[in-house]
């Protein structure tokens, strides 16, 4: 620990940064409860926890985005305050976000020198700028044209440019927030060799990843978090099963409370036949019966979201048909899909699901405004009453219906999207990553909601990249690969290995080897 007296030269082994017993609350909700994390020079500290466990809040405290309510932040053993990101950058702490902070329309050199263009006679000194950029790229062994537009590089190279930029700003600690999420296997190994290099040179790193196998490959030590609390710090070579146990803190059966309580006739509610879109989806056919949850598994980019969006009428499709309760849905008509009982919970609720600046009441009511209206006038009291009823039923935690939806937590925001379709009496629900960015407690509430929907005779299609969720909640699993369905598994046959081997069956080569590795989890 770093309780050493303050000196000018910290003794060897002093962590670059320590979060000591920090706490953080947002309103009444405490999201971090007394967590201690050390980031040591030349070490990779892994933060492990489920969505909502508090990892992102922790790294935002390190970066100066949030300030802890309690506890201390120490840099080189000295207590510091990080009121903003400039303060942390000045201390050599850099964050590589999932959403990169680069200007796509400008060159690599310009991006690396952003905000500190070298000047000569008051003009930009392009020669010097290229040199700075080239030196920065050399440090991580990246050989790309510094005059290339950043937007034309792949995501992996953009990430490396961002790392080079941070290092050229003399960063000695990097926070890597899920850097591998969008990379292929080959890109990941390129990234890891850069990480290895940085480790040699004494750069401290914080690493967040949902891929357990990556932890052993790249980490030194793992801090496990659960519901905002510090659980344990273990070596990175700890067995994966043990890591999961620490992270989840309970068995998988409780985590996915699937119940099949529908006793009515097993009518087919949704039939998709020969669905193909331009470029992505290729001849997809499946059907979903009343009371059933069908999981759509596969890799990112397998075409799952595209299938959902085509069914919901969001995007057009080239050929094929979609039938709800035996009736054909017209192509790319969201209105027609909603009228026949289709509800769509999109992947990105902030960008596509909610009007964040509008009240909960408004957001719940959008799909039913026109159907409940009398001669074009909003049924204000009716809309409000229905919204209140469903908000109570789903236990949306809010002050009142007029609260702005953007100020709710992720889980309550997601429940608001669900509430819209429950008010609209939707019976076919298309859920795209329904629990992404939702805390553990709200996740289970959303699963219970799916149980309630199917118990009432509804049908659910769920796309999820969290395989345990797909396995835990689905009655059948359809696995997509390269734009088409590569196999179907019953709930009993669906195991991680079985799903993964179907998921990688038809993907291109570089995607394939990434998945082979995942399949070995």
């Amino acid at each position: 620990m770093s309780d050493t007296p303050v000196t000018n030269n910290p003794p060897a082994g002093t962590p670059i940064l320590t979060l000591e017993n920090v706490t953080k609350s947002f309103g009444p909700v405490t999201v971090i409860k007394g967590v201690t994390v050390n980031v040591r020079p030349g070490k990779v500290q892994v933060l492990l926890g489920e969505n909502g466990a508090g990892k992102s809040t922790l790294i935002k405290m390190m970066a100066g985005v949030y300030q802890p309510d309690g506890g201390r932040i120490l840099v080189d053993g000295k207590e510091v305050r990080l009121p903003d990101t400039n303060a942390s950058e000045a201390l050599g702490i850099a964050t590589i976000h999932q959403e990169l902070n680069l200007v796509g329309s400008m060159t690599v050199a310009e991006n690396i020198c952003m905000g500190r263009f070298p000047r000569r006679f008051g003009l930009v000194d392009r020669r010097q700028m290229r040199k700075v950029a080239r030196d920065a790229l050399n440090k991580i062994g990246l050989d790309i044209d510094v005059d290339h537009k950043v937007g034309e590089l792949g995501i992996a190279r953009q990430q490396l440019v961002e790392i080079a930029k941070a290092l050229s700003l003399n960063a000695r600690m990097l926070i890597l927030d899920e850097p591998t999420a969008a990379l292929t296997k080959r890109e990941i190994s390129a990234l890891f060799s850069v990480v290895e290099d940085l480790r040699e040179r004494g750069v401290g790193m914080v690493f967040i990843s949902h891929h357990l196998d990556e932890i052993a490959a790249i980490g030194d030590s793992v801090s496990v978090l659960r519901d905002g609390e510090f659980v344990a710090e273990v070596p990175a070579d700890t067995h994966e099963d043990e890591l999961v146990r620490l992270m989840v803190g309970r068995s998988i059966e409780q985590q996915f409370p699937r119940r099949r309580e529908y006793r009515g006739p097993a009518d087919t509610l949704l039939e998709v036949e020969g669905l193909s879109t331009k470029g992505m989806v290729n001849n997809v056919s499946f059907s979903v019966k009343a009371g059933e949850i069908v999981g759509l598994a596969g890799l990112v980019g397998a075409g799952r979201t595209e299938v959902i969006r085509a069914i919901a009428g969001v995007d057009p499709y080239a050929t094929g048909s979609v039938r709800v309760r035996g009736k054909d849905l017209p192509k790319s008509s969201i209105g027609a899909a909603i009228r026949s009982g289709v509800g769509h919970v999109p992947e990105d609720r902030k960008a596509h699901g909610l009007v964040l600046g509008a009240a909960v009441n408004e957001n719940i009511g959008y799909a039913t405004l026109s159907t409940t209206a009398k001669s074009g006038l909003v049924d204000r009291s009716g809309q409000r009453k229905r919204a209140q009823d469903v908000a109570d039923k789903l236990r949306i935690r809010m002050h009142n219906l007029d609260q702005v939806v953007g100020s709710l937590s992720g889980g309550n925001q997601q429940k608001t999207v669900f509430a819209r379709w429950i008010v609209a009496n939707s019976t076919v629900l298309l859920l795209d990553e329904p629990t992404r960015g939702v805390d553990v407690g709200a996740k289970v509430e959303i699963y219970e909601l799916m149980n309630a929907i199917t118990a009432a005779g509804g049908a659910v299609v769920m796309v999820s990249s969290e395989l345990p969720e797909v396995l835990g909640m689905s009655d059948r699993v359809l696995v997509m690969s390269g734009g088409h369905i590569s196999g179907e598994l019953s709930a009993d046959d669906a195991t991680q290995d079985a799903v993964m081997s179907l998921a990688v069956r038809d993907v291109q080569r570089d995607l394939e080897d990434k998945l082979m590795e995942d399949g070995h989890e």
């Binding site: 009007v355 964040l356 408004e362 909003v378």
Partner: protein
């Protein structure tokens, strides 16, 4: 009218009392009262019946233009063409009566339709042509002004008596003030009580989320621009009715006053936020400042400087206030 709900939920104001919250949410209204009080103290000519009616008349054209523009801004668009469309509507109406020998009431309705149609064309270009509204309405600004000059050959045309009636009086009350109040009530009603009005807030707040919830986004866009054009047409008829003639250069530059009124009234150019009551206050603030500076014999050159500063300060205070609230 300040009580009408908007997409913006009530916020907790410092102090917490209902009065405190009301004042914090209606900064422009507070500003208007302070302004009125200052002018009342500074000059005895301000708070007189004739002067107040004069303010009402002067506010009417700007406010009606700004009411229409509020629809567009709530839906996250902008309409630069309202001044030109007002002139075209007035000129078209006058032409129908004078040159086309149509009955006065046809000329009046025709003028409104010209406005609505011009707006609908802009809306169509935005909704289906995927033009940014800034560009589509910049084009309409030029086209409508050009057509006004073509129709009139650059000369004023006399208005129909039905239109001139809009510029007259009913008893002691000037018609423009009555039109102002009615137009405001209609606009507030549309925004708050109709499905289309609520859709405007949704489209302005998050167009894609609105679309995925089944909101007919294109229809909403065409409607907001058509309404903006309709209100612009009404404003044009008011203006020409007061002069008994449609002027080819009428309402030039008024779009900037209208935008100023809407943003002083608390609407966000990013969309999703805005109220008719706020817009009315915004228009009154502009007109009262001009009126007061005239009464105080401040040169019209300096008036422009003052108005520019007022816009910057009003919107600056408003965005600071928003920033200090969670989310």
């Amino acid at each position: 009218m300040n009580k009408v709900a908007t997409a913006q939920a009530p916020k907790k104001a410092p102090g917490g009392s209902r009065i405190g919250r009301f004042l914090a949410d209606n900064g422009a209204l507070v500003g208007l009262f302070v302004l009125g009080l200052a002018l009342f103290i500074a000059t005895p000519d301000f708070l007189t019946g004739p002067n107040l009616l004069n303010i009402g008349i002067q506010a009417s054209v700007i406010a009606v233009l700004a009411f229409g523009l509020t629809f567009v801004i709530v839906a996250a668009g902008i309409d630069l063409s309202v001044g030109s469309v007002a002139a075209l509507s007035a000129m078209g109406s006058a032409w129908m009566f004078s040159q086309g020998s149509m009955p006065g009431w046809v000329a009046l309705v025709g003028g409104l339709l010209i406005g609505a149609l011009s707006g609908a064309v802009s809306g169509f270009a935005v909704a289906y042509g995927k033009l940014p509204s800034f560009i589509a309405t910049l084009a309409m600004l030029s086209v409508a002004r050009g057509l006004t000059l073509v129709i009139s050959d650059g000369r004023p045309i006399g208005t129909a008596p039905d239109v001139s009636f809009l510029g007259g009086n009913i008893g002691p009350i000037p018609m423009p003030i009555i039109v102002l109040v009615l137009a405001g009530l209609v606009a507030a009603f549309i925004l708050n009580f109709t499905v289309m009005g609520r859709y405007m807030y949704a489209v302005g707040g998050n167009r894609e989320a609105a679309r995925l919830s089944g909101v007919p986004v294109r229809k909403v866009l065409i409607t907001v621009f058509a309404l903006s054009g309709l209100f612009a047409g009404l404003a044009g008829l008011l203006l020409s009715g007061r002069l008994d003639s449609a002027q080819p250069q009428a309402a030039a530059g008024y779009e900037l006053d209208a935008i100023a009124a809407v943003v002083i009234g608390g609407a966000s150019l990013a969309g999703g936020i805005g109220r008719i009551s706020g817009t009315l206050v915004g228009a009154l603030v502009l007109v009262v400042i001009r009126n007061g500076l005239n009464l105080l014999n401040v040169s019209s050159f300096w008036q422009q400087v003052v108005i520019g500063l007022v816009i910057a300060v009003a919107v600056g205070i408003d965005s600071l206030r928003r920033k200090n609230q969670p989310h």
